[in-house]
Symmetry: C2
Subunit: 336 residues, 2 copies
């Protein structure tokens, strides 16, 4: 009675419940088309803090506490906190775990961290180790830009394939019992490398990971794309999205043209907000999943969704040393 089905997919015996979620957004994201689905929109990037790094922590904690409050739970009632972010040594998550005072496992999956956390939360709850697990992640445009690229003040010209790191955070609370949509399948990704070296084209570097994980999910579960009302990738942007559609066809014969969207493209009005190829960052899939999608699932507007979050696993050092950009994608199926 293995809970592993096929090669990379895991099916909980009794699908855990996503009993609560919350998403908070930065000022620019708060002007986007999903603005009505955020629990809080910050009016400035510093969020009242002295540094952008502290602001990101404030955002992650706001999402976490709002998520707990909605479920009527205190941090002391939560068995485990799973979190990760893009900052070196994942300081947003570590310092947030300090304030939450919940036993903590730190994760690093770059922008795949949102679904890595939700996947592990599902497995730990269904494995009988926890009744309540809080999963959270965040990203911040200014902290990410100055760490990975250049301080914004440099005014460096951006390429058309470049994406805009999303400012915001999301959190979800996974429980053994309760009301809400259930997490029915988890597909854990392998790291892949398709030879992309351009750090201004991360969508294309991550698209093969997305396509392979989606194809594997369909093969492992026997559920084709039609099974889902909506299939989402995390932050591939427009170039990564079109590449994913092509690869899903060429690698698995699956048609993603009907019900597939990318969270990074949903957050912004790409006609009006200049984000080049779209949004990126751990926050993208977390804000869309824990803000917009969760409400749609509760309302019955969506019944079955598959969220596939991708992460680029390079670092500035690996890039400078001439390495390719490896990527990973974890997919989580949520059903109302």
């Amino acid at each position: 009675m293995s809970k592993k089905i096929g090669k990379q997919t895991f099916r909980p015996e009794k699908p855990p419940v996503l009993i609560s979620s919350a998403a908070v957004a930065g000022p620019f994201e708060g002007q986007g088309p999903l603005k009505d689905y955020y629990d809080h929109i910050y009016t400035d990037l510093l969020a009242g803090e002295r540094t952008f790094e502290s602001a990101e922590k404030e955002m992650l904690l706001n999402a976490a506490f709002t998520c707990l409050n909605k479920a009527g739970k205190a941090p002391q009632e939560v068995d485990l906190f799973l979190a990760g972010d893009l900052l070196n040594q994942t300081i947003t998550s570590g310092f947030s775990a300090l304030e939450l005072a919940i036993p903590y496992f730190g994760l690093y999956g770059a922008c795949s961290t949102s679904m890595e956390g939700l996947a592990l939360a599902t497995m730990l709850v269904d494995g009988g180790f926890a009744d309540l697990v809080l999963a959270a992640t965040s990203s911040h445009n200014t902290t990410a830009e100055r760490q990975y690229r250049y301080p914004s003040e440099y005014g460096v010209h951006r390429k058309p394939t470049a994406q805009w790191t999303v400012t915001g955070a999301g959190a979800g609370l996974v429980a053994r019992e309760g009301e809400g949509p259930r997490i029915t399948h988890v597909t854990v990704g392998k790291v892949v490398d398709f030879g992309i070296k351009d750090v201004n084209n991360l969508g294309s570097a991550m698209a093969p990971a997305a396509a392979l994980t989606l194809v594997q999910h369909f093969a492992d579960t026997g559920h084709g794309p039609d099974y889902y009302d909506l299939i989402l990738t995390g932050d591939l942007g427009k170039f990564g999205q079109s590449l994913t559609i092509k690869l899903a066809t060429s690698r698995g014969g699956f048609d993603l043209t009907k019900n597939y969207r990318d969270c990074g493209l949903m957050i912004y009005d790409t006609q009006r907000q200049d984000v080049h190829a779209g949004g990126s960052g751990c926050g993208a899939s977390a804000m869309v999943t824990y803000g917009y999608l969760y409400r749609k699932l509760l309302q019955g507007k969506l019944k079955r969704i598959l969220v596939a979050a991708t992460g680029a696993l390079h670092s500035p050092t690996s890039f400078q040393q001439g390495q390719d950009i490896p990527a990973i994608c974890h997919a989580v199926a949520i059903e109302a």
Copy 2:
């Protein structure tokens, strides 16, 4: 029939088996008192690679493949790979996962990652999600020094409380069935902050996390320190070790003076090898656990051990911004 006992401890229903392990060491570590317990000792820090970062990856992969070989397992037979390291964006682990091609969850717990990985592997196997999980971690003196502090070539004077980052890697293979010592308890740490800001005194910053997790483990399980043949911390060094002994007494009334050692102090002959306060890094607890301790458990020289690995969750950025150094500690009980 919860698998959670007390506040932070998790007890698998059927304790998973550590069926294999391996440890590899850098040249300096290979001159230390545990030299006979490593599977491979490198003769130079570059390990035949072009960069120190690639060398660290080579070491982690060597430990991983050696561990698999000893168990007669191929990577394709392994359900999940859990790994993390100290480098920004944990590139050692991500690039290793690419070569292993095993579905991968990336972790970040600084030097607590060794036991974070082993704890999660235990939970995922006992939860029914995997038959075989490979957990691994690494550190490298030169990659860590130039990332966290200064390139070695600067010749910066070191403080007496400073520790020496260990070069090496370790891997363990956790299985549902098989021969070997079993993982009987896991205590997941909370992040704590005792106000230390000195990045040259990480042992003291991490000691409170070690003491609190050990005290919680004893309280949750009802097993006092006497239950174990040996209790280990990961890389506290001599100042952190003595502080842990004091805090275990003052916070819990437990006597750690009889059977407690620190992995960072075991790796080097501290009389002959100048490592100031001792060794540190993810590799420290991994090399001692997966090299020395595992063999002692197989030989019956040790029957019950408790490995408590600590991690300092700061970053150069958080330090420069005046933040304290928060720390965490995860403890894993292994019984022959």
